[in-house]
């Protein structure tokens, strides 16, 4: 008794001295089923901030204060386990994978749901998948991984925004892109572009009405929900990844060199002068007079010169993650610098993210997710690949004597070819951009009652984009820029969103209820200012004020949108077998007139875990879960322009006329800038979704299948106003709700994983089909601005519209004389025996089909000649690990899609174009048609395309199906014993590549090109997606 009393006093007086008898504890943490060591398990002394994590061998060492201390072991995907230290020095722990009841959770709109109990169509991508992708763009990291979601690059330019289509295309005039919700804040694809994939914890794509309808009026194109990583309780963990790589042009076009060019045009002139005796043309001397430079005759390979052989890319990523039971944090820094394969194009990106959460008492949590992004770069306005193809190879690149230092098209060098020097255009015209973006939220959450939680979120998005286009004065002979010009534009946008959400979850026996109700208000403000100046006296003074004050022009645009919504959701589950979810959202938007400002979007879905009822006997031990799902609901799509409901007057600069001898400018105002549509309302879609989910063989096999029918009604379409309405060039015709589109399709996803053997592997495949039909469009045909693609009843949206090319016309298609030669009239024309096409159609031209058999081929013989929505898309992932090695392969394919290769219709057409600029061409034209070479797929040669061979026809529409090795990566993780010595936790090095191999019949640069509008893909020499070789390391401390 006495000693213990003394000891007690001592303890009270000198707690440090006597209180903590430090005990060293160590042990190994392994997986309960496989026995594999678990790396990075959090080991924490309960109630303190003392802790560590397990190393590569699953081993930890820790000082604990006393035998009474309790160790907690936590690891994602495993049951947390506690252990009293007692007298043990070695505590080995096996962690069991989490039981079904608290298994994987899916982020859904305004909440989460157990993955097993999801009733809607939701595609999931985890942080693990994204890590393997190793892409620097989040959107591209999702490519090929998510059935029902078709992601394609629109350009290979660094930082360009991809096109994302969830379940087909359901809109003509509006955006067909899904909305992106990052940590609850509604945004667009652009925000996804700024997000580093390594900061992402999970991505859910809400594809069907039932899951997306909680986002109401903006949900009909699907919703991409992103949750960024949060801090984890425990010791500070530091992660550093880097990546170095080079991009190259994946494919070159075969273009004629100087000799071939000269030979070709020699023949062209001969042929022309022989055919049209009244129109003799002189073969330009420049083509035969060799232009000698120091190195010999000029033979410029423009394609090569505008391309960087090896464009470098670096990515550095550093993250800090940690916290205690009161506060957790995640801080990351990211720097990406990337050169484009097109000369001069590049982008630098800096990204800082701070996510943290703090507990105040037991009931209140507050936190924030904030990202700050800066992007700088240079990007060309137009992709010069077509210019590079048609520019004369006889044009030298440089001319030291010319201002600017480059040689321009000059009859002395290039004859009639006056195409510009694409290298000079790239180098001299400087187009820079700078983008700053603050995106994130502050939130607070309070538990009011058991199960009742109130959450409020304030989201902010501040965006500023500045572009500077500077063209100095330069001399390029026929393409000179006699005065320097500067154009500066500043776009500023800010947005706030304020959510208030009440959640209530309760279980009564076998019944489980969830209720969620919320209100949100939001406001977007945009303001852009553009100013241009020219005629710079001092070119070093590159500011607007440096230009001639009389020539400065400026413009401003102001936009504003406000919105307010109420939304709610009911979940009910009975016995964890019968599942029901109902949602409703009522949206209000300032974009509509007072009569149609509000819309309501309901949905419901049900699920039945049939395995629990019918297949739960011992015979079905292999079956973990089989679930049937059904969902139905309504979604909306909002027009992307403001103030559509009111009629506005058009003013300066469209309307100015001069009076008087001294040119007095008089400004005018006229109808209509916009033709108001007071009755305009949301596009509305109605979707039915059937789904089946299966997991079996202890989670080794997973299979999902979906079938959906989505009817998009009340499409917002331009009412094609007759010209008698006098709309001016910049005016916008009225929008009306007219037209229906149906998308339907199947989605399958199957995966098999086996981690039990030394060779651990996972294979996954997915397949998506889309059938898109314009069901109802009374105004008949809606064309894109190029007039090449349209929406018309009975066909898929964006179908190509043009002529059917049959074959090359032969001499026997024309009236022949006694000697069997075609009879030629005085003006050089021939007399066709086939339907009339043009006055000067001749042997060797393309024969187009006279569809209506009226004896002539004219506009009425145009028809649907191709489609832009693929029949199906698919992806295949293969992931294997053996000892320290890992390999990851991702294939992506698109089947049955067409591209209008307009690049080839110009650079690959043997007969000239109308203005006959003696453009250089692809080598294939050398196989041009002649009476002696009648079997060819090239036309005749000529100095004018009098038969309009380059018109849009099946001749230029190509099948752009492809299968692409999207990503391949081989990694090696350093063994634990080495790591221990250098004191780090894990280190992996990898090499790999993106876009390494493409199987396609498409002849252009890249079959993946796509358009940001619903309307088709025209290849004018698109910036191709580069082939990318990379290597790097990731290390964690």
């Amino acid at each position: 008794m006495k000693p213990s009393f003394i000891r007690l006093v001592a303890l009270l007086l000198f707690p440090p001295l006597f209180g903590y008898t430090q005990i060293d504890v160590s042990g190994k943490v392994t997986d309960a089923t496989t026995g594999e060591p678990l790396i990075g398990v959090n080991v924490l002394v309960k109630g303190s901030s003392t802790g560590t994590i397990t190393d590569y061998d699953g081993v930890y060492e820790l000082n604990v204060p006393s035998k009474e201390s309790i160790l907690t072991f936590t690891y994602i995907g495993y049951e947390p386990t506690e252990m009293v230290v007692g007298s043990q020095k070695t505590i080995d722990i096996t962690l069991a994978t989490q039981a079904e009841t608290i298994e994987e959770v899916v982020v859904i709109g305004y909440g989460t749901q157990k993955k097993q109990n999801v009733t809607g169509a939701v595609s999931l991508v985890s942080a693990e998948d994204l890590k393997e992708a190793n892409a620097t763009s989040t959107a591209l990291a999702l490519q090929g991984r998510t059935p029902g979601v078709n992601i394609s690059s629109t350009s290979g330019s660094p930082g360009s925004s991809p096109s994302i289509r969830v379940r087909g295309v359901g809109s003509i005039n509006n955006s067909a892109q899904p909305i992106v919700v990052i940590d609850g804040i509604i945004s667009s694809i652009g925000a996804l572009n700024n997000l580093n994939p390594q900061d992402i914890e999970s991505v859910s794509v809400l594809k069907d009405a039932a899951s997306a309808a909680i986002y109401g009026a903006r949900s009909s194109n699907g919703v991409i929900l992103v949750k960024t990583k949060t801090g984890e309780e425990g010791r500070l963990s530091v992660q550093y990844n880097n990546l170095f790589g080079v991009s190259t042009l994946p494919r070159r076009q075969d273009i004629m060199n100087a000799d071939e060019y000269r030979d070709f045009y020699e023949k062209v002139y001969e042929e022309h002068n022989a055919t049209y005796p009244n129109d003799q043309r002189v073969f330009p001397a420049a083509y035969t007079d060799a232009v000698w430079t120091e190195n010999g005759q000029t033979d410029t390979d423009w394609q090569n010169l505008i391309t960087n052989d090896l464009a470098l890319k670096q990515n550095h990523y550093l993250s800090l993650n940690g916290g205690n039971e009161k506060s957790t944090y995640m801080i990351s820094l990211n720097y990406v610098t990337e050169d484009g394969i097109l000369k001069t194009s590049y982008q630098d990106l800096y990204n800082v993210r701070i996510n943290s959460e703090h507990k105040i008492g037991k009931r209140i949590r507050i936190g924030e997710n904030l990202a700050f992004t800066v992007k700088n770069g240079r990007r060309e306005a137009n992709t010069p690949y077509l210019t590079a193809a048609v520019t004369s190879p006889l044009l030298p690149v440089f001319n030291e004597d010319a201002k600017g230092g480059y040689q321009g098209p000059d009859p002395v060098f290039t004859g009639i070819n006056d195409r510009t020097n694409p290298v000079a255009e790239l180098e001299l015209n400087e187009r820079f951009f700078n983008e700053n973006n603050i995106f994130g939220n502050l939130y607070g959450e309070i538990d009011l009652l058991p199960g009742l939680t109130f959450r409020t979120v304030l989201g902010v998005n501040y965006f500023n984009r500045r572009t500077t286009n500077w063209s100095p004065r330069y001399e390029l002979v026929q393409r000179s820029n006699p005065t320097a010009t500067l154009s500066e534009s500043d776009n500023y946008a800010r947005r706030w969103q304020f959510d208030k959400i009440l959640r209530y979850n309760r279980e009564f026996g076998s019944h489980s209820f969830g209720l969620m109700a919320g209100h949100t208000a939001e406001k977007d403000i945009g303001n852009s200012i553009t100013a241009t100046a020219s005629d710079f006296r001092w070119e070093s003074l590159q500011t607007i004020g440096g230009g001639n004050p009389e020539l400065i022009t400026s413009a401003q645009g102001i936009g504003e949108r406000t919105g307010e919504s109420y939304f709610g959701r009911v979940n009910y589950e009975y016995a964890n077998k019968y599942l029901f979810v109902g949602t409703i959202r009522r949206d209000g938007s300032s974009r509509f007139g007072p009569n149609n400002r509000y819309g309501t979007f309901p949905s419901f879905s049900v699920g039945w875990k049939i395995s629990e009822d019918l297949f739960n006997g011992p015979r079905y031990g292999w079956m973990d879960m089989l679930k049937l799902r059904f969902g139905y609901g309504f979604n909306g799509n909002e027009p992307d322009r403001n103030f559509l409901y009111e009629t506005f007057i058009s003013t300066y600069p469209e309307h100015v006329y001069t009076l008087g001898q001294t040119d007095r400018a008089v400004f005018g105002a006229a109808p209509f800038y916009t033709f108001g549509s007071p009755e305009l309302r949301w596009e509305s879609s109605e979707m039915i979704n059937y789904g089946i989910d299966f997991t079996g063989f202890n989670g080794k096999v997973e299979f999902y299948a979906e079938y959906y029918v989505k009817n998009q009604n009340d499409l917002i379409t331009n009412l094609p106003l007759q010209l008698v309405y006098g709309l001016s060039g910049d005016a916008q015709p009225p929008l009306v709700n007219l037209g229906d589109i149906q998308n339907s399709g199947f989605e399958f996803s199957l995966s098999y994983r086996n981690y039990e053997n030394p060779v651990k592997f996972m294979v996954a495949a997915n397949l998506t089909t889309v059938r898109n039909t314009v069901e109802f469009l009374p105004s008949n045909r809606i064309f894109n601005s190029d007039g090449t693609n349209l929406a018309v009843e009975g066909h898929s949206i964006g179908s190509y519209f043009g002529y059917v090319a049959e074959r090359i016309l032969q001499e026997s298609d024309f009236e022949l004389d006694g000697n069997g030669n075609p009879i030629q009239n005085e003006d050089g024309s021939f007399n066709p025996l086939v339907p009339y096409q043009t006055d000067f159609m001749s042997p060797g031209d393309i024969k187009f089909k006279d569809l209506n058999n009226d004896g002539k081929v004219n506009a009425t013989d145009q028809t649907i000649i191709g489609k832009v929505i693929p029949d199906f898309t698919y992806g295949f992932t293969f992931d294997v690990r053996y000892k320290s090695f890992d390999l990851n392969l991702l294939l992506q394919g698109v089947q049955n899609i067409d591209i209008y290769n307009r690049y080839r219709s110009r650079a690959g057409l043997a007969s000239g174009n109308e203005t006959s600029k003696d453009e250089n061409k692809l080598r294939v034209v050398q196989d041009y048609w002649t009476p002696e070479n009648p079997v060819t797929n090239q036309t005749r040669i000529g100095l004018g395309d009098f038969n309009d061979n380059d018109r849009i026809s099946t001749w230029w529409i190509e099948d752009a199906s492809f299968l692409r090795v999207r990503n391949l990566q081989i990694g090696y993780s350093l063994p634990g014993n080495i790591l221990d010595r250098i004191g780090i936790n894990a280190l992996r090095i990898f090499i790999g590549g993106e876009n390494l191999l493409t199987f396609t019949d498409y002849s252009g640069y890249d079959p993946e090109i796509s358009s940001t509008s619903a309307f088709g893909a025209i290849d004018d020499g698109t910036y191709p997606v580069p082939r990318f070789y990379q290597g790097g390391l990731s290390v964690s401390f």
């Binding site: 009629t647 309307h655 001069t658 005018g668």
Partner: protein, 529 residues
């Protein structure tokens, strides 16, 4: 306590936004509800009624089409030159759109400009006159160029209905009424700062032309006689006897600046010969659209340079050249020209040949620069340019301070044209080729060129004089179609000049896109089916 907290949170939750949260204001544009109130509003609206003919897009496309169709001008758009166009042609559609825009705006003006608007009586009259003139002018061109478009006399209101074709007679007749009405309302002249607005003389001149296109020669002659009798207009006559006096007297009708010669000045825009001009300006710079067009900045005021510059100056497209095989022989070779010229001075104003100075003015830096073969796009096959429309405004090819838009006004109606139209109408109305007033009118035009007066007229003489005097002024092709229709020329006559000419080419087709938008109510002109 707990209940209070819950109540507070529920109340906070239920708190929505105020009712006007969804009301936002468009700060970019005027809204219709606040417009059409004051005199100033209507002045603004009226000026936009003038615009459609002068707007960059329209002018450019008009010049492109009209030059290409002209048999005296060659154009690099060889397809259009060969009359190879169809109802899908974008330029044809664009010009139709511009004319309809003019119709719509004048209709709107005349509908909204009620007695309630506070404006002086005098100005009310002239404003109405301007609107009626413009509506007449747009319909006149619609009748000539497109023959059978719909005839709308009020702004349309329901986009879901189509409008039927009118007959060409109905449209000509409506234009006639408009010109008659306008001629009674418009002033004879405007103050210097208002030049460019419609005048009584413009209305009467178009009235005469309107009749002429319908082959109503008596009425045409009467209207054109009224123009002559206004005593407002006179030809720009030579003020001396050297060759430049003769050239400038004619050429200054097409230059943007007055032409000085030995202390004498030949006025250009809005000179005594000018009846109606499309007033272009270099003052309003639309900015370059792409690097391709950088050296030739487009402007709202003028599209001219874009479409018919020298290739060397502009590097643009749509270049023109002068026909140099047949047309040069049409110019008379006066035996005793007062200035000793070998050819009709209008030859030197129309043609610029390799070796010619770019500018006739010795003090101009371009005097020493000569026109070179390479200055023309050789694809057109002619070595000669059209000086009449290319009077150099740049002082050098690469002068960075030169305006890159052409401020040169387009003379839509000249007094010389009125005199020649009068001569033709009078002769054909009276069937008397010796009609004294017709002879006087036509000989005035010859006199200005320093040519011998004619004693008797002939079909050939009238055709010849119009051919030479109005070459490249977009009148020629429609003269040919007019003469073909009224019997002065046969199909073969026209085909000699325009080899591909077919009966359908007397007008443009109605644009296919527009027909598609009229729900089957408007039909294609049968000539183009």
């Amino acid at each position: 306590m707990r209940n209070i907290i819950i109540t507070l949170f529920t109340a906070f939750f239920l708190l929505g936004c105020s009712e006007d949260f969804l009301e936002v204001t468009n700060l970019n544009s005027l809204s219709e509800s606040s417009f059409y109130q004051t005199e100033a509003d209507f002045e603004d609206l009226l000026i936009t009624c003038y615009m459609p003919m002068g707007h960059a897009q329209t002018s450019g496309r008009m010049h492109k089409l009209m030059f290409a169709m002209d048999d005296r001008v060659l154009h690099e758009q060889v397809g259009i030159s060969a009359l190879q166009y169809d109802p899908t042609n974008g330029d044809i559609s664009n010009i139709y759109a511009a004319l309809m825009r003019g119709v719509f705006r004048t209709n709107l003006f005349l509908q909204k400009f009620t007695e309630d608007i506070d404006v002086s009586d005098e100005r009310r009259q002239s404003m109405l006159g301007e609107a009626h003139f413009l509506r007449g002018m747009y319909y006149h061109f619609l009748a000539v160029w497109y023959e059978v478009p719909p005839l709308l006399t009020e702004p349309p209101e329901d986009p879901r209905v189509g409008y039927p074709n009118a007959t060409q007679e109905e449209i000509f007749d409506f234009a006639r009424q408009e010109f008659e009405l306008a001629s009674g309302l418009l002033p004879k002249v405007w103050a210097g700062s208002e030049l460019g607005r419609a005048t009584k003389g413009a209305a009467l001149s178009f009235l005469g032309r309107n009749y002429l296109y319908q082959a109503q020669f008596t009425e045409a002659a009467a209207a054109l006689k009224e123009v002559i009798d206004l005593n407002v207009y006179s030809l720009n006559m030579p003020q001396g006897t050297d060759s430049l006096d003769y050239i400038y007297a004619y050429l200054s009708n097409f230059t943007p600046i007055d032409m000085p010669n030995n202390g004498k000045v030949y006025p250009s825009e809005f000179n005594s010969e000018s009846i109606y001009e499309i007033n272009y300006s270099s003052a309003h710079n639309e900015g370059a659209r792409s690097s391709e067009f950088l050296p030739l900045r487009r402007s709202t005021g003028s599209h001219m340079t874009w479409f018919h510059g020298y290739s060397a100056i502009t590097g643009g497209f749509g270049n023109i050249a002068a026909e140099d095989k047949i047309f040069p022989n049409e110019f008379e070779q006066p035996s005793n020209h007062p200035a000793g010229l070998e050819l009709d001075p209008r030859y030197y104003a129309f043609y610029i040949e390799p070796g010619d100075p770019l500018d006739f003015r010795p003090d101009n830096p371009l005097f020493d620069e000569v026109f070179e073969v390479g200055d023309l796009n050789s694809s057109m096959g002619s070595q000669k340019g059209v000086r009449k429309h290319l009077y150099p405004f740049h002082t050098t090819f690469t002068d960075p301070n030169a305006p890159f838009v052409d401020p040169n006004n387009w003379r839509l109606m000249r007094y010389a044209d009125v005199l020649l139209m009068y001569a033709e109408a009078q002769v054909r109305a009276t069937n008397n080729f010796g009609d004294a007033s017709a002879l006087t009118a036509l000989n005035q035009v010859r006199e200005r060129a320093g040519l011998e007066p004619l004693n008797v007229l002939s079909r050939e003489a009238i055709i010849h004089e119009r051919d030479i005097e109005l070459a490249g002024e977009h009148v020629r092709f429609w003269d040919l179609t007019r003469w073909y229709k009224d019997g002065w020329m046969t199909l073969e006559d026209v085909q000699q000049l325009k080899p591909n000419f077919q009966p359908r080419h007397v007008c443009f087709p109605l644009p296919l896109g527009e027909i598609n938008r009229h729900y089957g109510v408007m039909q294609q002109n049968p000539k183009w089916l």
